[in-house]
Subunit: 420 residues, 2 copies
């Protein structure tokens, strides 16, 4: 299998034209389906006048893209108000997730917050407690950063080897955007942190009053209080008009509809860091405060939703990310992890952001087991699911960053499998 | 005026808290409107359950953002099918323009192209002419790049000193996105360029069959044939399912709904590069093929749509860009160009992409004349409108990259003025 499904270097891919000069390249390479006979007839849309500008003052996708949507798994939660929708990674390109397709996670549904009435209170162990309006917040020095957000339950359904046969459902609880706002350290400078403060409690204005404890060091390091995503105001699903962004840490600490930051000496042990978002270990104990998103990657093409269309040349594509900083390296295997090839990382490779990788591949129609494996800048290597289970058992649903295997069948279809 | 409106360095901004320890900071600084008395009452949205996930499988902005839309100028063109809509720069953040707010320019309206039927024909002086389907095109090695597109008529209404008093209408024909597709050079490798080829004619599938001539060198340098913007399929307004992207050159050469590329020895002198998109000079001659977008910048806050809310600390914000490569430096003046302060450039600073700049500023309530001036990596300095008129007269409507002046009135309102 290894020899029959050789990955191709970039030079081989681009050199094919010269090697086959004068041949009906499409048929030979299996990549171009039609060669030139006569020009295509003028399509109806080329013979008419289309819609005018500001026909849609705020645009929307083509009707042909109607299937590219967020989806949920009805049996996963009791209701949709405390549930998840998954981003369609199989249809996404580059590293930016468009705002309309950013994954959702609510703990008491999506509130409809009036930005004129919204306030952020900062109090506790501070010199000068403050209540800030949105007008106040946008006046502080601004920063824009591209960062991912991942729910720690992403991949949670796979712990006991559920095979969902869907990239969207196995990995779709991650998205990435350009966020704009104020450094949390700037706001904390403004209120003055008392020297005994060690922790911050951050709280949302949703019906759950969703709240978490964060170490002050992280708050002062790289946390942002953001009001915009991908250039425009935050979407309601993402915390309009204000959310916290905790780069590289599990998504639930990036509190949406942020209304309160209280500094204290100890963590608060809130419901969402005791009853939930802890990792139940084999011996019955729980790991708490497991905030970090460890390095993870997945092949986004081919995948169950995007099978191969017959033998020929393809580009394997995928996404890699890590909460520690930058992705250093991604390797791809087509034989279930026996042999590995270095994938190309695409610029920009940014800290705590999605990174796109690709590898050219000629598929000969035989079986294959596709995997990707990321190594982050600390040297950490993405583990197999067997390695994770050995360490953590099968009780946990959080922080499954295991290598994903896609099995390619001879008809080009793709299946979610777990290798023993 | 200069002394009264001193720009502030970053250290001064962040140091204010310490300097005013224990004081009701909000009132003193004019930045925080409310200081802490008692916590705000629970808002209605904090006492109820909100909407569930996939309530909107493809999301949309908050209803409160209904005014953040593309707009057009009805008197500018005979109809909306061959017109322009302007992006609301006054409401945008960072460097990514969300797809729903990307400016529009049509020559025969927006066609509704079926991606299954769409074809790209590459012919003329090539070894192996090809017709490619969308299925073919997505199989080639992919690249993603963040680039701006600007219409060369952006600022055209200002040549004769029209004062529109609107950032959206003076500068809104520019947007920036992450584009994904295939290098044009990859496709040209596939068909084999004949050695006598020097130019490419690129043509759209819209009713105008919009077409332009491009030097082959530019095609082989950095042009892309793209099918995605900001992670999802191209929007219909931007050429769904396929457009050309010519980085750093005037927007109309980035042909939308791209259906044909023909290589030849000479340019085609199409309607849109003879009758239009040429610059009429004072002596009656026309400059043609003026593709390059010269370095340009504009202050996006404050601006006519976003006045100042009383004296106090602010952050002047703006955008800079250049077709030659990267922005090297942006200077800001608050006295109409007499004195200049270096602004901070925000990462990432990418070639042929928008670059965000900021400068902290304490406004004392007096009059001010705000300007920004960019210098690109070649050393080119953004000119004044007087310098441009001296060189090119007042007949042209294209390639106005002049320094913009915003006049601040004592009530904080902002006006579009031209200094003599």
């Amino acid at each position: 299998m290894v020899r029959r499904n050789q990955p191709l270097g970039r030079r081989a891919f681009l050199g094919l034209g010269a090697a086959l000069s004068g041949v009906a390249l499409g048929a030979r390479q299996g990549r171009a389906e039609t060669r030139l006979a006569s020009p295509p007839a003028d399509a109806p849309w080329s013979q008419s006048i289309g819609a005018g500008v500001v026909d849609r003052p705020y645009g929307r996708p083509a009707d042909y893209e109607a299937g590219v949507i967020r989806r949920n798994v009805p049996w996963l939660t009791a209701g949709t108000e405390s549930s998840i929708s998954f981003s369609p990674l199989q249809d996404l390109h580059g590293i930016i997730t468009p705002n309309g397709l950013f994954f959702e996670r609510y703990h008491a549904g999506r509130p409809d917050v009036d930005p004129e009435q919204h306030r952020l209170m900062i109090h506790g162990l501070v010199e000068r407690p403050l209540i800030l309006s949105m007008h106040d917040i946008v006046r502080f020095p601004s920063v824009s950063k591209i960062h991912f957000i991942e729910c720690p339950a992403n991949g949670g359904m796979e712990w006991r080897a559920a095979q969902l046969n869907s990239l969207q459902f196995t990995h779709g609880m991650i998205s990435c955007a350009e966020w704009t706002g104020v450094k949390l350290s700037t706001l904390l400078d403004e209120v003055g942190v008392k020297k005994e403060a060690r922790w911050a409690m951050v709280e949302g204005a949703d019906g759950a009053h969703m709240n978490r404890s964060l170490p002050l060091d992280k708050c002062l390091d790289d946390c942002l209080v953001v009001y915009a995503q991908n250039g425009e105001a935050l979407r309601p699903e993402q915390g309009f008009p204000l959310r916290l962004l905790v780069p590289g840490w599990e998504g639930n600490v990036s509190i949406k509809w942020l209304r309160r930051i209280k500094l204290g000496e100890r963590p608060w042990y809130t419901r969402e860091e005791t009853s939930k978002y802890t990792d139940l270990m084999p011996d019955g104990t729980s790991r708490g405060f497991t905030w970090l998103i460890d390095a993870k990657s997945v092949i986004t093409f081919p995948c169950p939703e995007k099978p191969l269309r017959g033998p020929g040349l393809y580009e394997i594509r995928g996404l890699a990310w890590c909460g520690q900083g930058k992705v250093r390296q991604v390797d791809v295997s087509i034989d279930g992890g026996v042999n590995w090839q270095r994938a190309q990382l695409h610029e920009p490779v940014l800290a705590k952001a999605l990174t796109r990788f690709t590898l050219p591949w000629r598929w000969d129609g035989g079986p294959a087991l596709l995997q990707s494996r990321v190594i982050d800048e600390t040297g950490y290597v993405q583990p197999t699911i067997a390695q994770l289970r050995k360490q953590r058992g099968v009780n946990s649903v959080y922080h499954n960053n295991a290598i994903q295997t896609w099995q390619i069948k001879p008809d080009g279809s793709v299946f979610d499998v777990q290798l023993s």
